[in-house]
Every structure is written in structure tokens, then in C-alpha cells.
């Protein structure tokens, strides 16, 4: 059984930025064996710690642009953004885990397309809600049908 870490991140109080949390919470409710779900406002250096002991990690975030309804792609460890934005990219987390702790874990990102990020509120836009349904259906299938660690 693969031990998979799923990190949903974003701000649940900022419109479609809640997509990462929404997907993660939906997956958590499934109670799939081997699946650990974490929620956070953004990724940061300490998430490199969390990768230890897992066979794969999936980062789920809202996307400002890109394919609809979502995009699921493997990640390569790489440098994080350099400006002091207090956050690290998914690839940066993989690179830190590798360089600091010798933990090499296959990583994937599920980027769910959002549209409205400029409004306070816990409501997803109708289009984002449709994308959420498509993304959760896809991820549920991926997690239950096969081991992502073998991808």
C-alpha cells in the first residue's frame, strides 16, 4: 500500500483560492488507507519535513491560469522563488526535502483552475465549483485505482 501525502493549500477565505483545501477535504472524507491529508495557507520550508515516510506527495492548489478544469502533472525538484514572499513552490519543497534530508519522493501537482480571487468569502464561483467536482472525481479515481508512487 502506497503512503501518499496530499497537501491542499490556499486561503479558504479568498474565493476560488479555497480550491486546494476543498479538494483535500473531499479526499480526506474518503478515508482511503495510506492517504494522509494536510491543509495549509501556503507551502513553506517546513513542509520538506513532512515528506519523510511517504511514497508520493500531491500538492493541490488553485490556478490563476492554465487548462480547465484542472491539470495534473509530475514535478521536478527545483529552486524556489527568490523574493521574500514567505512561501515556497511545490518543486522547491521537493528540492529542500532532497537536499536537506535526503528524501526523494515523487511529487505531483493538481492545479485546479479558479477564476475569482479578489473577493472575500468562503464561496467558490460556480465555474470553480464545477472544476472542483471534476478534479475530485479524477483524484479519487487516481488514488483508489492505482499507486501514484509507481507513476
Amino acid at each position: 500500500m502506497a503512503r501518499i501525502l496530499l497537501i491542499g493549500y490556499g486561503n479558504p477565505g479568498r474565493g476560488d483560492d479555497a480550491l486546494g483545501w476543498a479538494v483535500a477535504e473531499a479526499m480526506d472524507k474518503l478515508g482511503l488507507p495510506g492517504l494522509e491529508v494536510k491543509l495549509d495557507y501556503q507551502l513553506n520550508v517546513e513542509h520538506a519535513f513532512d515528506l519523510k515516510g511517504h511514497d508520493a506527495v500531491i500538492f493541490v492548489d488553485a490556478a490563476l491560469a492554465g487548462p480547465e478544469s484542472f491539470e495534473f502533472r509530475p514535478l521536478t525538484p527545483s529552486d524556489p522563488a527568490t523574493f521574500s514572499s514567505h512561501s515556497v513552490s511545490p518543486s522547491g519543497v521537493l528540492a529542500l526535502a532532497r537536499d536537506l534530508f535526503g528524501v526523494v519522493v515523487p511529487g505531483f501537482v493538481l492545479a485546479v483552475r479558479g477564476y475569482e480571487f479578489d473577493e472575500f468569502g468562503a464561496e467558490l464561483s460556480p465555474a470553480a465549483r464545477r472544476n472542483l467536482e471534476a478534479a475530485t472525481a479524477f483524484l479519487k479515481q487516481e488514488l483508489t485505482r492505482r499507486s501514484l508512487a509507481a507513476v
Binding site: G10, D40, F49, T82, V88, L96, D99, D118, E119
Partner: protein, 474 residues
């Protein structure tokens, strides 16, 4: 009822941090602006809600310092209920506040700022980051991450690792601290002290070896403001507001509930963020600094022994008076980090910390409440008005990054004058302008973090307003 407020999307998403530099006819920099895109809309969003919801809602303003917003909010609620939290409630609030200070300062120093000076301002920008630091000094990078993790574990142990449930509520706290968690946190202390002291030695060594650069980097004098306890000691959680002048003379010391008598705000045309200023000195002369340097310069002493020793050494740099210069925010930050670790230990060793008497229960007894606390970036105010049902009729938040906005503009201007020339923004100049902002560790994260945004945007303008150079970095 949820009210939606629409904010200009271009400035927020793309202009995550925007800096404009303006040159005169001689090609030299005259002024520079750091544009912060804050969301005043959040205040409107909250109106109509019950005030008791605010400690849970306000952390959503910012994922970087959610504890501070929750804390200031809960204190405003305490004031509306005209009620004091229980003694253990106060101890636990102080504990999570100190934990947040450790994790925030550790991130700022080890992973955001130290790569600049440990790897060199002119080093390859692809390497001048936390991964570059991991490559050059992996032990230091790991120590930094572990220290940050310790700070986070303080609130995680208290709240069951639910990051979005901080447990700060009107009247105290929602969760008691279990004995096994108290012991587990105490186990971290020796390592946390050692790492904090090592960071201080590292920075002091750098300053000593680069004194000329440090002393000239964004150097300007200003008043400072911070929260102090009864004996003038620096206090993260509660106390009176103290303003000191550039010489260290106390200009004002008042309860936080009187902040509006001394702080006014003026709108500026280049930023959503208002320019707060110290009223008695007026707009032109009244900008002051908060945050690490503001607190350390405003305080008379530290309440913990190791931090007091460092405080004395720090203040001796200017004969006991306030120490000026943006780079010294880093030094002040590390003294605070050590103090916060000592505070965590002191609180964990208080026998009352595991009491189950964690919350006073109350109801609305006033129509107005003001709560203030020290966020890692500086003093934070929440000011609420409610009707007879407890529904919010007015919400006003004065955030730390806003109060430091005039100082950050001054710092960016000073550095731009020193390092930007001609018609291009060189990589070296860009790095130094970035670092001037990093000194203040501003919270630019009051925005979304969706994939695809641009972290930084710098534009150089000529005397007639023509764009000479434009760098987007991210």
C-alpha cells in the same frame, strides 16, 4: 450574511510587490516607492457578523501571522465583553504568541534574509535562496527549519495540529495544554536556545566584518514604537504603547485603547495602503517604525536573562540610544527570537499552564472594543463597534506592515540612491533593493497564493515619467 467586495485584480495578483524608482534630470534617483496592495475590503466583509466570530475569521487575512490577528481580535472581543481572560488563558495566549514569534523570525532570518549576506548580494540569484543556503551550509539550513518547526509545534500541540483552528477565543483559549505536550515542548528548549544563539553569533560576525556597509545600508533616523510592560520591558502580548524619539526619549506611553489619539492615517495615490503617522509630529515628520527594531528601540529592557544580555550589547552600539539603520532589524529580530524561546520555557514551567480554567465566559457589555498585540512585523490593532445584538457595525484594522510602509519607502529610496544609477536596474541593485524590504519582513501575503502569480515587479522611471527599465522577477 456574506458581502463580497471586489478589488482591482491587476494590482493584487500581478503587483504582489511593486517598486517604482524615479530619477531626476541628472539621471540620479530622487525617490522610490514600495507599493503594497492591502485589502481594505476585509473590514467591510466582516461587518454584519457577530463579533465572537472574529478571532476565527481574521486569521484568514494572512496565513503568515494568523496568530496575531486572532490574538488582537480576541482582545478586542474581551474589551466588548468588559472581561479579563483567566490567568491560564493569558499564559496560553502568551505561549502561542511566543511560538509564532519564533517560527516567523526563524523563517525571516534563516530562509529569507541570510542567503543574501551569507552567499553574497552579488551571487548568482538562482542560488541566492534557501536552496543555495542548503547547498553551502546544510547544517544551518536544517537548524533553521527545525527552529521554525519548534515554534509551530507550540500551537499545533495546543490545538491538535489544526492549522486553521488556533484556539484563541474571547475570554481566553479554547484548548488546555496537556502535560505530555508541555513536556514534549520543553524537550525542544536546549536545541532552540542553541540555534537562536548560533544565529546571533553568525549575524554579529557578519556585521563586525561588514560594518561600513551595514551602517550605511538604508540608514535614516526615525521615532520607534512598540508595546512595553510595567517596567518598560518588551512585551509581545500586552502592555502600553510607547513611542520614543531617535534619541530614545519617551514621547508618549499610553494604553493601546488610546491609539487613535496618537496615530492618524493619510491616503496616498500610489498605494491602497494608508500612511499612518504619529499625530503629535504631523504627517511630514511623524513616520515611525514598528516591528523588531521598533520594539527593541522603544523598550527599556528585556524580561529574560539571555535576551537582556544581548539587548545591552545591541544598545551599546549607539551608546545606549536607539540603533538606526534598516539592516539592524535583523539583529533586533534575533534578540527577539532568543527572547521568545526563553518566554516559551518560562511559560511552560509555570505550574498554572496546564490548568483547565482556560476561558472566562461573558457577553456583550460594551458597544466598542480595541485589541492590540505585537505581530512579528509590528503592532497590530483591531477596533470593532457592535450593535445591541453583537453584530459588527464597524471594523478597523491597523496592520504592522502599513505602519512600516513609510519607513520601507524611505529605506528603498536610500538604497536606490546608493546603488541604482543610469537607465538600468542592475542585478546587484535589484538585490539590494529587495534586501531593504526584507529587513522589515513585510507581510505581502495578505493575498492569495494561487499558482502563477508574479512575486516582484520593479520599474525605473525617467524625469518625464518615461519607463526606462522594467524587471519582473519571480
Amino acid at each position: 450574511m456574506t458581502t463580497k467586495i471586489t478589488i482591482n485584480p491587476v494590482t493584487r495578483i500581478e503587483g504582489h510587490a511593486k517598486i517604482t524608482i524615479h530619477t531626476g534630470g541628472d539621471g540620479k534617483v530622487e525617490k522610490a516607492f514600495f507599493h503594497v496592495n492591502e485589502f481594505r475590503g476585509f473590514e467591510k466583509f466582516c461587518e454584519g457578523r457577530l463579533y465572537t466570530e472574529m478571532p476565527t475569521i481574521t486569521p484568514r487575512i494572512c496565513g503568515i501571522c494568523p496568530t496575531s490577528h486572532s490574538m488582537a481580535s480576541a482582545k478586542a472581543c474581551d474589551a466588548i465583553q468588559r472581561m479579563q481572560p483567566t490567568p491560564t488563558g493569558v499564559l496560553l495566549r502568551r505561549l502561542v504568541q511566543a511560538g509564532q514569534m519564533v517560527s516567523s523570525h526563524a523563517l525571516s532570518f534563516f530562509h529569507l534574509s541570510s542567503p543574501d549576506f551569507l552567499l553574497g548580494f552579488d551571487s548568482d540569484p538562482a542560488k541566492r535562496n534557501v536552496l543555495g543556503l542548503a547547498e553551502k551550509d546544510p547544517a544551518l539550513a536544517v537548524k533553521g527549519i527545525r527552529l521554525r518547526k519548534f515554534g509551530q509545534e507550540v500551537s499545533e500541540r495546543l490545538t491538535g495540529k489544526k492549522i486553521h483552528v488556533l484556539g484563541v477565543v474571547p475570554g481566553g483559549m479554547a484548548y488546555a495544554l496537556k502535560e505530555e505536550d508541555r513536556v514534549a515542548l520543553l524537550d525542544w528548549i536546549p536545541e532552540a536556545v542553541a540555534t537562536s544563539k548560533a544565529a546571533l553569533e553568525l549575524l554579529k560576525g557578519y556585521i563586525s566584518a561588514n560594518k561600513k556597509m551595514v551602517d550605511s545600508f538604508a540608514m535614516f533616523q526615525s521615532p520607534y514604537m512598540g508595546t512595553v510592560g510595567p517596567d518598560g520591558e518588551l512585551d509581545f502580548y500586552d502592555g502600553e504603547l510607547r513611542w520614543v524619539d531617535a534619541e530614545g526619549q519617551v514621547m508618549t506611553q499610553v494604553p493601546g485603547s488610546r491609539f487613535q489619539e496618537f496615530i492618524a492615517e493619510r491616503s496616498m495615490d500610489f498605494t491602497y495602503l494608508k500612511y499612518p503617522y504619529y499625530k503629535p509630529l504631523g504627517f511630514e515628520k511623524g513616520f515611525y517604525q514598528v516591528g523588531t527594531l521598533g520594539r527593541i528601540n522603544a523598550a527599556s529592557r528585556m524580561s529574560t536573562p539571555m535576551a537582556q544580555k544581548e539587548f545591552t550589547e545591541f544598545r551599546s552600539l549607539n551608546g545606549g540610544k536607539p540603533v538606526h539603520g534598516a539592516f539592524y532589524h535583523h539583529y533586533a529580530r534575533l534578540i527577539e527570537m532568543l527572547h521568545a524561546v526563553e518566554e516559551v520555557q518560562r511559560l511552560l514551567e509555570d505550574p498554572a499552564i496546564t490548568s483547565k480554567d482556560i476561558q472566562s465566559k461573558g457577553q456583550r457589555n460594551a458597544y466598542e472594543g480595541i485589541g492590540h498585540t505585537e505581530a512579528p512585523r509590528g503592532t497590530l490593532f483591531h477596533h470593532y463597534r457592535v450593535d445591541e445584538t453583537g453584530a459588527l457595525t464597524k471594523v478597523n484594522l491597523l496592520i504592522a506592515t502599513g505602519q512600516n510602509n513609510p519607513a520601507m519607502n524611505q529605506a528603498v529610496t536610500e538604497v536606490a540612491k546608493q546603488y541604482v544609477d543610469g537607465k538600468k536596474v542592475s542585478e546587484g541593485a535589484l538585490n539590494r533593493v529587495e534586501h531593504a524590504i526584507r529587513c522589515y519582513d513585510p507581510c505581502l501575503s495578505c493575498s492569495t497564493h494561487a499558482l502563477g502569480q508574479m512575486p516582484m515587479d520593479v520599474e525605473l522611471f525617467g524625469p518625464d515619467g518615461e519607463s526606462l527599465d522594467h524587471v519582473i522577477k519571480g
